[in-house]
């Protein structure tokens, strides 16, 4: 917010020459609209991490970073405008934080040779780097999430959930529909019954879905929600006295703002995650010192340490590490988007690296390759404590059912390749 926003679109219009020597990270954020509650902390975390790099280290590899923020309000048309306005600024990687905009940008970024990183969202089959050359979705995707949830249910039921009834309450959109094929395959494999309950966007009205849950009495409820839908669902679940420990949300349904409105009723609610929670990491001392204390924090500066702030920071961290890797591979400090793509494809997140960055045990370790743009899909579970008002990890990052997921990824990416005449890479 407070960083210098140049007259970006004007320069884009005039097709001005090469950008100045800085590393541009566009942030297609949404601080307005029905999904702003999740969009604000993510955008703050994303911007603050780059501010920290600039203030503390003088950028990445000696080149300053610049975050261009563009408001999409989760709207696809605004997303296109933002993409076109920022792409000629030397933008290195796009992170739209919206499934709709992701689907739109997959072909566009590939044609423009700019990478896109969709951290735990977007098109799951983009994990297949053979087909999706410019899209990355490590460290985990929705199908890992679906499988991780089922694995967790297996874990707490001593490996037998046959005959159990599991309901999926999902946002009736591409995002919410994404886990259904995986859950159906897993239901057949493990013999549980799957009940699908769609909630229309934005999700303020869920009385009928929760009435159905009252009638059908599922043993577990999974939720794929975002924005206001999460708060309403958790409130409704509390109202019908559904046991909260049997209610598991995807990682986008596991922020503080989702559980706070239900108060004590939300105690015990669980959510999946692919990164650690809380602010008990050395990096927060630096953020406090270099970003918050100097008044350079993005937005209102009140989101530091929240789950989605952490996730935005994690997204920024992976992007920054990708840029570092690109600088190393190509031996230049002022990298291009094409070099950035190579960097993201060669990214290797080790425990030592994360500890050196001040984020020990923050996320899973993974190595990206030409074929695998999606990491290893390790998924953990966090639980909400309403009295302490904190999330805590109750199940560590564990691997998911890759046999089922990989078969689905192969099928879906093959269909995309056939529709768009894409020849597989990495041969």
């Amino acid at each position: 917010m407070k960083m210098k926003l140049t007259t970006m679109a004007l320069t884009a219009l005039m097709a001005a020459g090469p950008a100045m020597a800085d590393l541009v990270f566009p942030s297609l954020s949404y601080r307005t609209g029905p999904f702003a509650a999740g969009g604000i902390p993510f955008a703050d975390g994303y911007a603050d991490y780059f501010t920290l790099l600039n203030e503390r280290d003088g950028g990445i590899g000696g080149v300053m970073t610049r975050v261009i923020e563009c408001e999409t309000a989760y709207n696809t048309e605004r997303g296109v405008e933002c993409y076109e306005a920022t792409k000629n600024e030397g933008s290195l990687v796009y992170q739209p934080l919206s499934t709709g905009i992701t689907y739109q940008l997959i072909p566009r970024t590939t044609a423009d040779n700019i990478p896109m990183h969709t951290l735990g969202y977007g098109r799951t089959s983009a994990k297949n780097g053979k087909v999706f050359s410019h899209t990355f979705n490590y460290p985990a995707n929705y199908w890992d999430g679906a499988s991780g949830a089922v694995n967790y249910l297996l874990e707490i039921n001593s490996n037998d959930i046959s005959g159990k009834k599991v309901a999926l309450v999902y946002h009736n959109s591409a995002y919410g529909k994404e886990p259904i094929p995986t859950l159906e395959a897993l239901a057949a494999k493990h013999g549980f019954e799957l009940l699908l309950l769609a909630v229309d966007s934005p999700g303020q009205e869920q009385k009928s879905q929760w009435l159905q849950i009252r009638q059908q009495r599922p043993d577990y409820v999974l939720m794929w929600g975002w924005g206001v839908m999460n708060q309403v669902a958790i409130q409704e679940a509390a109202n019908i006295r559904f046991p909260m420990e049997n209610f598991i949300g995807i990682w986008w349904s596991g922020g503080e703002h989702d559980v706070m409105p239900a108060g004590d009723g939300a105690n015990g609610y669980k959510a999946l995650t692919f990164h650690n929670v809380g602010s008990d990491f050395p990096i927060y001392e630096d953020i406090q010192k270099y970003v918050v204390a100097t008044g350079k924090a993005a937005g209102a500066g009140d989101q530091v340490g929240s789950v989605l702030y952490n996730r935005g920071m994690y997204a920024a961290m992976l992007a920054a590490e990708g840029a570092r890797e690109a600088q190393r591979i190509h031996g230049v400090a002022d990298i291009t988007p094409a070099m950035m793509r190579d960097g993201l494809e060669a990214l290797n997140m080790t425990e030592e690296r994360m500890a050196a960055l001040g984020l020990p045990n923050f996320g899973p370790t993974f190595t990206a390759t030409c074929e695998n743009h999606g990491g290893d899909g390790l998924v953990g579970v966090v639980q909400w404590d309403a009295t302490a008002k904190t999330w805590s990890l109750v199940s560590d990052f564990k691997s998911t059912d890759q046999d089922v997921i990989n078969a689905l990824i192969e099928a879906d990416s093959a269909a995309y390749a056939a529709e768009n005449n894409i020849a597989p890479r990495c041969n």
Binding site: K4, E71, E81, Y103, R108, T124, A174, K177, D412
Partner: protein
């Protein structure tokens, strides 16, 4: 001074009844067309086409369609988003089922399919009017969006329910898909927009348009003088939906490339097109263009002004945008219910007398 009909003699009824009877108007019209077809395609870049020109042209077609129904025939519709979705999904199904057929034919056929659906939902208009009809069309909006979300046949059983446009060419030039050149995208929308505007303008000047306007002004009186309300209302629904369907097909295939029905063709889409014709001017083809231009350019302009020049936070600018659009609608409803088209008409009247107003 130069904007007047003095000395511009007409010797035939055809000449007297042409769209632009004043010579200056006519030349201005030709000049606009020449610039749009011959100059703009050579100047545009990705940003101009994607952020301003293509959405403007596509929204203009939708606004012309809705204007026929609401502005000319007086039937209020809140189903525009749903009908655009019909056009988009029809185009997707046709594109994937018959990949060898030219995309232009698919887009026109999508318009035809939407016209049929629109006629179906227009049937209640024979019995109900005003607010009640608005609610009936609102039902169409929700039903159509629900159907495209629910029935997986419409999105070829893809896992996510997203539809994306494969690459299609016109005379060897790609017009859909990721590798489309900005000028090609612009040209296909321009050609459709031009054709739709000419057809709409001439329809509204002819018998059909007059029966629509008779129904709009007083349906009982119209029926007494021999206007068939069944025919007038259903043709208005069909032709309006045809244009809206074309705009939906272009919106999906050319502009966005990948869509999700609930997000793109929701109730907001119906409202924004309705705002366009209210601000632009009900019952005016020019008004459809003016309204579309204002509502497409205004957010981009405010963003450039607020974020890029003044350096304001992006969320403040986004909030301001809502305030300003809302304020504009209220102001137009109070001060100039006939919209920007009426302002233009008044300006022309003044110009004809200028510089000697008495």
């Amino acid at each position: 001074m130069f904007y007047r009909e003095a000395g511009d003699f007409k010797t035939s009824y055809v000449a007297d009844n042409q769209t632009f009877p004043i010579a200056f108007d006519r030349w201005r019209y030709y000049a606009v067309l020449a610039v749009a077809f011959l100059v703009v395609p050579f100047l545009v870049n990705d940003y101009w086409v994607n952020a301003i020109l293509v959405p403007f042209l596509i929204y203009s077609i939708a606004a012309i369609g809705l204007n026929i129904l609401t502005g000319y025939c007086g039937q209020v519709s809140l189903g525009t988003g749903g009908f655009m979705a019909v056009g988009a999904y029809a185009c997707y199904k046709l594109m994937t089922a018959f990949p060898d057929v030219n995309i232009i034919i698919h887009i026109i056929l999508s318009g035809g399919i939407t016209a049929m659906v629109g006629t179906l939902f227009g049937l209640p208009s024979l019995r109900i009017k005003g607010f009640y009809l608005a609610v009936a069309t609102l039902a169409a909006q929700f039903f159509l969006v629900w159907m495209f979300n629910k029935v997986s046949w419409f999105y070829n059983y893809s896992a996510s329910g997203q539809i994306s446009a494969p690459e299609r060419t016109v005379m060897g030039v790609a017009v859909t898909g990721p590798n489309v050149e900005p000028w090609a995208m612009y040209m296909i929308c321009l050609v459709f927009c031009f054709a739709c505007a000419v057809i709409a303008r001439n329809l509204t000047r002819g018998t059909l348009g007059r029966t629509w306007m008779a129904i709009r002004d007083m349906d009982i009186a119209a029926e007494i003088i021999g206007v068939n309300p069944l025919k007038a209302k259903l043709t208005a629904f069909a032709i309006s939906s045809f244009f809206v369907g074309i705009s939906g097909a272009l919106f999906f295939a050319v502009y966005l490339g990948a869509i999700e029905v609930g997000e793109v063709f929701g109730i907001q889409k119906s409202f924004i097109v309705l705002f366009m014709i209210i601000i632009g001017g009900l019952g005016s083809i020019f008004g459809s263009f003016a309204g579309a231009a204002l509502l497409v350019v205004l957010p981009v302009f405010l963003k450039l002004l607020g974020v890029d020049l003044l350096g304001w936070p992006t969320d403040i600018v986004a909030h301001f945008q809502l305030v300003i659009v809302g304020l504009l609608i209220i102001l137009f409803l109070i001060l100039e219910p006939h919209g920007m088209a009426q302002l233009w008409r008044v300006a022309k009247e003044k110009l004809r007398l200028w510089p000697f107003p008495h």
